[in-house]
Symmetry: C2
Subunit: 591 residues, 2 copies
Amino acid sequence: MGETIKDLKRTHLCGEVSKKDNANKVTIMGWVQKRRDHGGVIFTDIRDRSGIVQVVFNPDSGEELFEKADTLRSEYVVAITGEVEPRPEGNVNSDLPTGEIEIKAEELRVLDVAKTPPIQIEDNIDTGEDVRLKYRYLDLRRPKMTKLMGLRHDITKTTRDYLDQNGFWEIETPILTKSSPEGARDYLVPSRVNPGQFFALPQSPQIFKQLLMVSGMERYFQIARCFRDEDLRANRQPEFTQIDMEMSFVNQEEVMEITEGLMKELFAVGNIEVPEKIKRMSYQEAMDRFGTDKPDLRFGMELKDLSDVVKDSEFNIFSGTVSNGGQVKGINFKGGADSPRSTIDAFEDYVKMFKAKGLAWMALREDQMKSPIAKFLSETEIEGIKKTMEAEKGDLLLIVADKPSVVAAALGNLRLKIAKENNLIPDEVYKFAWIVDFPLFEYDEAENRLTAIHHPFTAPLEEDIEKLDTDPASVKSKAYDLVLNGEELGGGSIRINNHQLQEKVFSALSISEKEQQEKFGYMLEAFDYGTPPHGGIAFGLDRLMMIIGRTDSIRDVIAFPKTQKATSPLTNAPSEVDKKQLQELGISIRS
Amino acid sequence: MGETIKDLKRTHLCGEVSKKDNANKVTIMGWVQKRRDHGGVIFTDIRDRSGIVQVVFNPDSGEELFEKADTLRSEYVVAITGEVEPRPEGNVNSDLPTGEIEIKAEELRVLDVAKTPPIQIEDNIDTGEDVRLKYRYLDLRRPKMTKLMGLRHDITKTTRDYLDQNGFWEIETPILTKSSPEGARDYLVPSRVNPGQFFALPQSPQIFKQLLMVSGMERYFQIARCFRDEDLRANRQPEFTQIDMEMSFVNQEEVMEITEGLMKELFAVGNIEVPEKIKRMSYQEAMDRFGTDKPDLRFGMELKDLSDVVKDSEFNIFSGTVSNGGQVKGINFKGGADSPRSTIDAFEDYVKMFKAKGLAWMALREDQMKSPIAKFLSETEIEGIKKTMEAEKGDLLLIVADKPSVVAAALGNLRLKIAKENNLIPDEVYKFAWIVDFPLFEYDEAENRLTAIHHPFTAPLEEDIEKLDTDPASVKSKAYDLVLNGEELGGGSIRINNHQLQEKVFSALSISEKEQQEKFGYMLEAFDYGTPPHGGIAFGLDRLMMIIGRTDSIRDVIAFPKTQKATSPLTNAPSEVDKKQLQELGISIRS
């Protein structure tokens, strides 16, 4: 049976023993990271949450102690008391914070033994993720994972401190609730007390946080668990965490300023600087220059509009597209002129995935220009294209002619693909931007009607309210997304706090009275009783963590994540349950 | 359409405008609490989260403004700019923090109008709870409720600050998980990806927090949502919140000390003092003196053991009980001697609810002693009883003879009943106690075997380990409960971190290898790889909030609680769902 710590007190964490403890007696507790015998002496590295320290067992410290040390194996849990000594000349390990000292053991307690772990407890292992998730408790012992858990604590603590200082109250909203209008698939929970009825797990606290503004809570936040039963893409989890905020009596600029302050503090935890004021870019500008509302600003290769240059061209693919309301735009792959034909073909195949009909190109090689379209273009047009695209010898110009949404998707994605393949994206550069002035609506071709880009409570810009009746598609909204390096960190909006305006928006969205009542009835009723101007924002904590923690898997920043099949190899959840349980719930499994 | 705040900046919260702002221009935003016209002047009270301030509209401030003010109704949302003035002599309201000043309005914007609310926005209303829950967003506007929400934020923030300072990391554990061994009924979530399988919502993070100790996280906490699908008693909710903690490399005393520090800070938020060191009382002492392991120490009336006094009595009900291993105990209702017979009969009916066969009594009236049992007792026995029970003239002695568990339940509860009915419990007195040295097991008569009092991972006292084989029922555990004024605030234990010991306990509990694997398989496997000594504790946040917030309903301390039928009158959850949703989940409703 293992020994106990009884009244033994840990005096130091492993990673904190240092030269200033020289000649002092210390007691450490932790796991055996490594043991090696060298020249009749046993060296062990002992690990705890804080780091590693070397402990030495000498035969002259007593036979019993030495023999006990000889039984130590990796991952045994031990408590060791001994004297701190400087390491002998030549044995100093400058890679280790504790590398200048070692502990000469005087007492050893084996608190628990361990089988050989199926995972190496060190960074940069190539163990498959399924094994790592099954033995998650061992995976978390690896220094990288331990640090990420500590970082997540620091990030959430910093969030709470900052929001508390700014007058926000953290308020818990229900997990057992009703379908919310986010539109993804809900997780359902059968009710035993009300058979045939179901709770839904929240996709976000959106409705509750707006109700809290109606309640006069004024500044709400929550680090909130959210649930979406979607087929999982690479970095999605069925349950994820949002930093969720809402404020009353503020305008868009005030929400953005509060958010900037928060970002400054959070990224500082990871030594990443956030500019004093984050750049604002309109949705339209982002689409024009980068083909996306999540522009990656770490490199150039912006989309250039060639429509004017080629609108009268004899090359009908260009001029015809322009005259039909389409665009001709291109990106300049600097130094790409010598790309082999196979690479250019691959680019073409790639843009076709985004519905482009083809990819025109001009390779400005040192000796000559190669281009299958040059022969259709006038000299002026070619010069115009080169000038607009700031082309030089050595560049490869890639051009798409299509309707604006296709051009944007095709070139926006091609830009990213080329940048990644050619290492054009600098490391450790962080380019933030607010994307603002989103359209309020987008056209849903399948349903042949306008739908809300954010959600139907998003307020339109005041100067656009009149256009709700006449030209709704052109109305811009008080929505804002915070984008970093081509990823959306978070988004939000000022909400509508007025009945007549809300009705106008519902009407533009062709949402019937009946549908309004069904989907949002209790929220609309709440808005009858004096709703303050309010707005908010929500951030994906897991993605923030990945960036600040510099890891590329969402599963590295969640203590107990699920696989892409929404299962837990550790607990074997989900699993079958007793028939009796289902009976009590009034449900049965379809066969 | 309502006016907008545009670039108007709020300069003050309503409750914060004071004399020092005299003659300054301020802008406040909030709700119209009250409006009254007096002497041709319109007075309004404007309310926000911070409090109330009085705004005056004078006819001489301009006709337009005055007419607009005349449209104001209760709960309209307004922004008002004006100059702070001292209230005229005689109009000072010393009940109100802002009672010395008023704001002379210069600009008024009506940000939203309001229908007449179905709930009065003030404290001490007698509106039914169903209405309050349906219009929760209005109920939360009442100052008491707003303050409780702010208090809850303060309490959780204080918790996080304290635990952070003490090296705890907050780590989120899954909500979609597997049945845990708490033994209450689970909420289930059907899996769409794995039809026929179910997640369970956690009853507590118990297993995960122990796995985090195996992971080397060392100090974990979480303000964790927990779920139990039980028939709801008065102050229970289907989802509730725990302050959940776990620590490695500590003994019981260290967990208790960390907890005491936390309690000190939390109760200080409510101006309640926690003693420097909280009294420790053994389970046995608590049962002996108070008949319960949750003793209310705010008053006396302790249980006194009369067994020795009456063990040889000719009164067979007493002596026979003692000789059969039972007890004779009593409580002294000071000054109760003149209770009418009907009261004493009610006491007897009450103790019978706890399986006592009867209630013996002696009323020491001024003139004589009245007692139906006196004639069966000797003078010495009567004197012995009076002496043991410290009886004086005027007292009513109430005696139960039965097996110890029945005596404890009967007299322990009778003690509380009498104290409550006779106002013997002082207000604003807070008596904390740690209950320690619990038995590890209790005997389950229905199943004819020992069961774990806490859970099967609770460690036995070291000095009792040997008795696991020989006399398991006498083994005490390293479990501890924190009790305040007769309520359990929280409880926890040092856990077993050793395989052989765990097996001994399972064997005492008659839990088969197969059952161990099914119920705890992955946890037991985790324990194979080096488990540190660890222990923890969990507190019910909602109950803590009720005590510190001095309210007697759990629904007052949760923003969006459910009814006792586990429904939400606000959202109408739970509700019916589309057939399509059920089809996707592979389940159907039993008809």
